[in-house]
């Protein structure tokens, strides 16, 4: 049953893509720029998790919460130091994007310079068992990654739909200026958005680190998450989930049935085609550049 196995692997990869894509989409929906520093935050989240697991021997729950908190704080600081001044000057979104690129290059190379370029693997946090379902071997890690991403994205959805802060965020997505006129503290709102994006980066970092390895340029996988966010429609949370799953499954099928070399060429070609013919993605809103 190669087909079922490929499908589950694809869904688990897609789940991780979705976790990363959510972070992109959250920031994009409020500030409408592509936060290229997100990959670096994911990488730092993975290093924090690795430190907690390897040095302090903590369990999966504590490792996850430590990484969520750490990556969240890093994302908030990132916004304070590198984006806030630009935002308040109403600089074009492209300037924010360049600043984000700068952050990503800076953080990655600081890790190179201080921690080193070694590849680390996570200590065993839970049994890497393989279960048999319908005659095909499925890894427990893949199932866990898929489950955790579904649950956490659903929790985020509830937060945004039901809480006061969530309502403020949705208002901010619609019109940030109007939102601040209504008495919402927009600086705090944006900090919350970045904290949430960072928290998801932390979860994604842990699963990426367990599934593959931890190294300074691991954040480059976020190029894929970006493609996922574009497929679903930038700025849309359900879109990020659907886009991530679609991309994960498509990629895994391409690498199993066509060739693993063509996988990345396929994804990037898909990105260009989508940006040209379907720039708003499956569920995105109209994203014209405003005059």
């Amino acid at each position: 049953m190669l087909f079922l196995q490929t499908l589950v692997t694809g869904l688990s990869v897609g789940g991780i893509y979705a976790l990363m894509a959510v972070g992109y989409s959250l920031v994009f929906s409020v500030l409408s720029f592509s936060n290229f520093a997100h990959g670096a935050v994911i990488m730092l989240g993975a290093y924090i998790g690795l430190g907690l697991a390897a040095k302090l021997n903590l369990g999966l729950g504590l490792v996850l919460s430590g990484s969520i908190a750490g990556a969240g704080i890093i994302a908030v600081l990132n916004e304070r130091l590198a984006y806030r001044a630009l935002r308040q000057r109403r600089a074009p979104s492209l300037y924010l994007m360049i600043s984000a690129m700068g952050c990503s290059v800076f953080l990655e190379n600081m890790v190179y310079a201080t921690i080193g370029s070694r590849f680390y693997s996570f200590p065993k946090l839970f049994d890497h068992q393989v279960v048999e379902i319908a005659g095909s071997a499925l890894s427990l890690l893949d199932l866990a990654a898929f489950g955790v991403s579904l649950i956490s994205i659903y929790a985020l959805h509830i937060f945004i739909m039901k809480t006061r802060m969530g309502i403020a965020i949705r208002a901010g997505v619609d019109d940030l200026t109007m939102c601040s006129l209504m008495g919402v503290n927009t600086n705090r709102l944006i900090s919350v958005v970045f904290f949430l994006a960072g928290a998801f980066a932390g979860i994604a970092g842990i699963f990426l680190g367990i599934k593959y390895l931890v190294y300074p340029t691991m954040g480059w996988v976020t190029n894929k998450a970006y493609i996922a966010a574009v497929i679903g429609g930038l700025g849309s949370l359900p879109g990020a989930l659907i886009g991530g799953l679609i991309l994960g499954v498509l990629e895994t099928f391409v690498s199993v049935y066509v060739s693993s070399i063509m996988r990345d060429v396929f994804s990037f070609t898909l990105l260009i085609i989508l940006l040209i013919w379907l720039p708003n993605g499956l569920l995105g809103h109209e994203a014209e550049e405003k005059v």
């Binding site: 360049i98 070609t269 990105l271 260009i272 940006l275 040209i276």
Partner: protein
Amino acid sequence: MSAYIISICMLAGINMVAVIGLSIFTGFTGLFSLGHAAFVGIGAYISGVLTYHEYTDFYTALIAGMAGASVASLIIGIPTLRAKLRSDYFAIAILGFGEALRVILENLDITNGARGLPGIEEKTTPGVLLFSIAAALFTARSFLKSKYGSACIAAREDSIAAEMSGINLFRTRLLSLAISAAFCGLSGGLLAHYLSFIQPVMFTLVQSTQLLAAVIAGGMGSLSGPMIASFIFIALPEALRVAQMWRLAAYGLLLVLIMVYRPQGLMGYRELTDIFKIFKSKEGKK
């Protein structure tokens, strides 16, 4: 020691050709490219492969590299510029193009894959390099002084107003992309025949960011600003023997600081010659 200084200047000069290329596009149309290292790579590989297998001589290979980079820029430029993507979508589309190209280069037999192509003849002399820089500058200046150059600047300042006054945005932007890619290709050809070794990892997003950093730091809309910046970026860390990672970390920090404190860059819209003019007029008043 002097050989060492010459080698630093050669590398900085080769980088300068690519930076002039990128500033023709990014500096004067205002569209950002995160994939120009791919054009450098195409130029390097086409010319490198041509002389490596002794298909052509050095100069023909350089020109073939320029032409190849230009054609590649049309392949990505025609659909994306015609669709009038948001400027950040455009930057990402060209990033995707660059990454896809790198994966292809890593898996082709003729390019020797990810191991790289060693033993290309060392043909880039200081004379050839100086001539290339002069040619790039001359072309860039003539392009900017031409009808198309003014159209580019108008489109950068306000694309809608420019379009309403009859400028064909697509054609203007595409022409400037093709010229800019050609010079990046030339820079790649010079690099391949200077280092005599090329590898796909030499032409990734990191290099695209370095090129873009030089253009932004030097000042978008200036030619001399980015040239000075590219020279400082290559020569200074090389002379101080700073390790590559600290250098890159500094580039990153510099990009953020420029965006936060001086988004117009070192020179803004000015050229070196403008500054001389200011000095002269002050002297004249005395």
